[in-house]
Symmetry: C2
Subunit: 475 residues, 2 copies
């Protein structure tokens, strides 16, 4: 098949009603929905989120609008897509796919689907899950064609692939024809952007929000009949040859949905709100500590062996802000040891300058080990730790799999604990459990807007309005 | 200086009040303003423009809104930026810079400035021109660092550089501090996207509209305090190393504004609404025809020699749509010969299938000549024609400079003729001359909103509302 025929086939697969979505995929997808909503709500009280909201004037409810989660504020649909995508990725706590897309995928695919569903009454939960799963598949298919070169060379795949995930998911809910879906994907190719060099600042989540908004826009414009040029995705000078090394798409498309990557290689629900590349090391240290009962002050030094690619991902040896700290292996290990946990609160700017954390960072050495077991991406997520206490005790820990990954899925208790920690300030204790249970049952929902009502409550509106009026008076 | 210091210096130059803008630059800038407004208004009656407007719900006038030119419709500022940028580039008739940015620059820099000024009462014409000129300079500076490799490899520089032009111009009007300007430029680096593979469809002007909107957004977010990571523009893995070959910025910044590129190498005001790469050939053929008085039917055959890079830019041998035709040298030559002119109306889908044009295309051969004189870009804009008539007459024509370029500027009569042809349907004959004269005097204007009133008139609102209600009834 020519690249043009392959591109058309890809659009047909994403727009079409076949193949069937297995119920196992729906079951898994619902857990990822819960997780995304949780981590997005955790951003609602952040000053950066409020700054972002200030540039988007609230719009009237109704035609073309959707809500910013956790606030109830109506925004133009694309603006809501950006704001919710930004929130979903703000804490870097949203799920992650480290082998194929090498990207946070749910935040783009599912945010686009939810935003489209919020503006399109009557979208069922099952339709939503289908749109999300197909959007996810769009990212992993394209990821197979351009990674690991793409990610390794410095592109932020969550954004540069996410725009396709969002276009496919939103386009599916809008009911695009295969031809319109192809136009949407071609447009998305021109909207793709995002650099890893912007990690450690507000622009990282902004890149993700931008990908969601532009994916939604591409699907809307294609629905209105605007066109892209055939070949812009898979043709000789199209996206895949541009952002990767021009791999052949036929084998990848032949394997589409058999099985869906969401139930095949799967996604990691993050146990810690920092870059996934730090997760096995943090998990190893926390489990050693839980087992052996030592305190941070007792540690003489830690040596941590990681894949040779990791120091280029976790680039901050001595972070100065919470966002930089998420990309600092010494910080993540030190903070975990000092506090005995690693949640959103551990990445505050206060913790970053905490003297105990700072002191322990100086006693942590990061080394690379090319022999750690590698996955499809060619980068190992495994790590080895050697912890030496002041009394001379020496412990080792090899951690192969990331907690929350498909081979070590978080159980419902741990999933709820994470959801609760993320949402309690926004939803309150009563609504937290109700929202968790309802979100898990999304496949039975007749109109996703009812579900979104649960996470777009009045209290949050009041809080933000209050704050805005305080700010207005202060000016 | 380190890349980080250079990046900061770049931001300071773009945000600062020095260097002085010479009055010659203001004089030239005003002509480019007239030209941009004209070509944008020529798009207002296009079906694609109306399709685009349908996804953007009108917003209330006032805070954060700006108008879609030629319609009077208020949109959220970034949406207006996208819509106006799309219109400005729709016919590919907006001015072009072929040596440094290798991009249409005015459409991004000036649309961003005008949109910002429309939403910020009291912005003077002089402030606007300054913002435009600095935005223009942002694109040419960065263009020097990444071109010609960037454009040649397939990036659409009008979009990938335009986002910086827009961020700088809008940021200047918003009064960003140098530090905020650096954050805006860093964000813009993550929003940069656009592929030449999408030439020949609605996505080409859409890429430009996207660049304007995202540049405006970057400046607004930076004004609200959102951050990007130092080095995302000029650092080791930043935009310049990513989208080009990582050239050193120090020499380029040392020459900033001395002279401004707008009055140095300058911009081409396009005489024909097709890709600039076709212009010397079309100009040569039209002038031969005017001098010798032959008709298209008398032509036996034409051979046209162009730079070896041109067939990769003018990719459509046999275009099937008006947008493809803009990137077809055989079409542009054949249509010019058949109609004796090449204006917006010659790129209708009807003309594309016109039998006389089609017949002549078969008698036109495009050849490459590596010996044509090259500019800074390494690509020649010159062309050589050999026209043989059926009676055996043979004529040659070498055309070195693009009509409308800085060495062959269009005179005011020709500038008005172009403006009039573009705007007459929207402004009517009375307002056309008044708008032309007023726009040229922009340097004296106290509030740009008054100037924009002239091109955002009531009549156009009525026309579009009428059409929308007809459409609503038809549904």
């Amino acid at each position: 098949m020519s690249p043009y025929e392959l591109e058309q086939e890809f659009a047909e697969l994403l727009a079409g009603s076949t193949p069937e979505i297995p119920s196992k995929a729906e079951f898994i997808a619902a857990e990822h929905l819960v997780d995304l909503v949780g981590v997005a709500l955790a951003a609602v009280d952040e000053p950066a989120f409020h700054s972002l909201l200030r540039v988007y004037p609230p719009s009237a409810a109704g035609d073309g609008s959707a809500r910013a989660w956790g606030t109830g504020i109506n925004l133009a649909r694309r603006d809501a897509a950006l704001v919710n995508g930004f929130a979903g990725h703000f804490h870097d706590f949203d799920d992650d796919e480290t082998e194929l897309a090498m990207a946070h995928v749910t935040v783009t695919a599912l945010t686009a689907a939810l935003t489209a569903a919020d503006s399109r009454p009557g979208t069922s939960g099952r339709q939503l899950l289908r749109a999300y799963i197909l959007g996810f598949e769009a990212a992993t298919c394209l990821g197979r064609l351009i990674n690991p070169l793409h990610y390794k060379s410095g592109w932020h795949a969550s954004a540069t692939l996410g725009v396709f995930a969002a276009a496919a998911a939103s386009g599916h809910i809008l009911g695009l024809t295969p031809n319109a879906m192809r136009h949407a994907l071609g447009m998305a190719a021109s909207f793709a952007g995002g650099l890893r060099s912007n990690f450690g600042s507000d622009t990282k989540p902004l890149q993700v929000g931008h990908a969601v908004a532009q994916g939604v826009l591409a699907s809307e414009l294609a629905a209105e009949g605007l066109t892209s040029t055939p070949g812009s995705l898979l043709g000789p000078k199209g996206y895949v040859s541009f952002y990767g090394d021009g791999a052949d798409a036929s084998a990848v498309l032949a394997a589409f949905g058999a099985p869906f990557d969401l139930i095949g290689s799967g996604l990691t629900i993050k146990a810690f709100p920092c870059c996934t590349a730090a997760h096995t090391a943090v998990d190893g240290l926390l489990s050693l500590q839980a087992e052996q009962g030592f305190k941070a002050a007792e540690i003489e030094h830690i040596v941590c062996w990681v894949d040779p690619a990791v120091p280029n991902i976790l680039v901050y040896d001595r972070p100065t802000t919470g966002t930089e700290a998420k990309f600092s292996l010494p910080f993540c290990l030190a903070a975990a040891a000092v506090f005995g946990r690693l949640n959103v609160t551990e990445f505050s700017d206060e913790t970053v300058v905490h003297p105990d954390v700072w002191a322990l960072m100086d006693r942590i050495a990061v080394q690379t080990d090319p022999g750690l077991p590698k996955g499809d991406s060619g980068i190992s997520v495994s790590s080895r730790l050697s912890v030496t206490l002041r009394d001379g005790t020496r412990m080792e820990r090899f951690t192969e799999c990331v907690p929350g990954s498909s081979s070590r899925r978080l159980d419902r208790t741990r999933l709820f604990k994470k959801f609760q920690a993320c949402t309690i300030n926004v939803l309150g204790s009563g609504q937290t459990k109700a929202a968790f249970d309802a979100l898990l049952k999304i496949a039975e929902v007749e109109d996703c807007r009812n579900l979104l009502d649960l996470i777009c409550g009045q209290p949050a509106i009041h809080r933000i309005e209050q704050e805005q009026s305080v700010r207005a008076r202060a000016k």
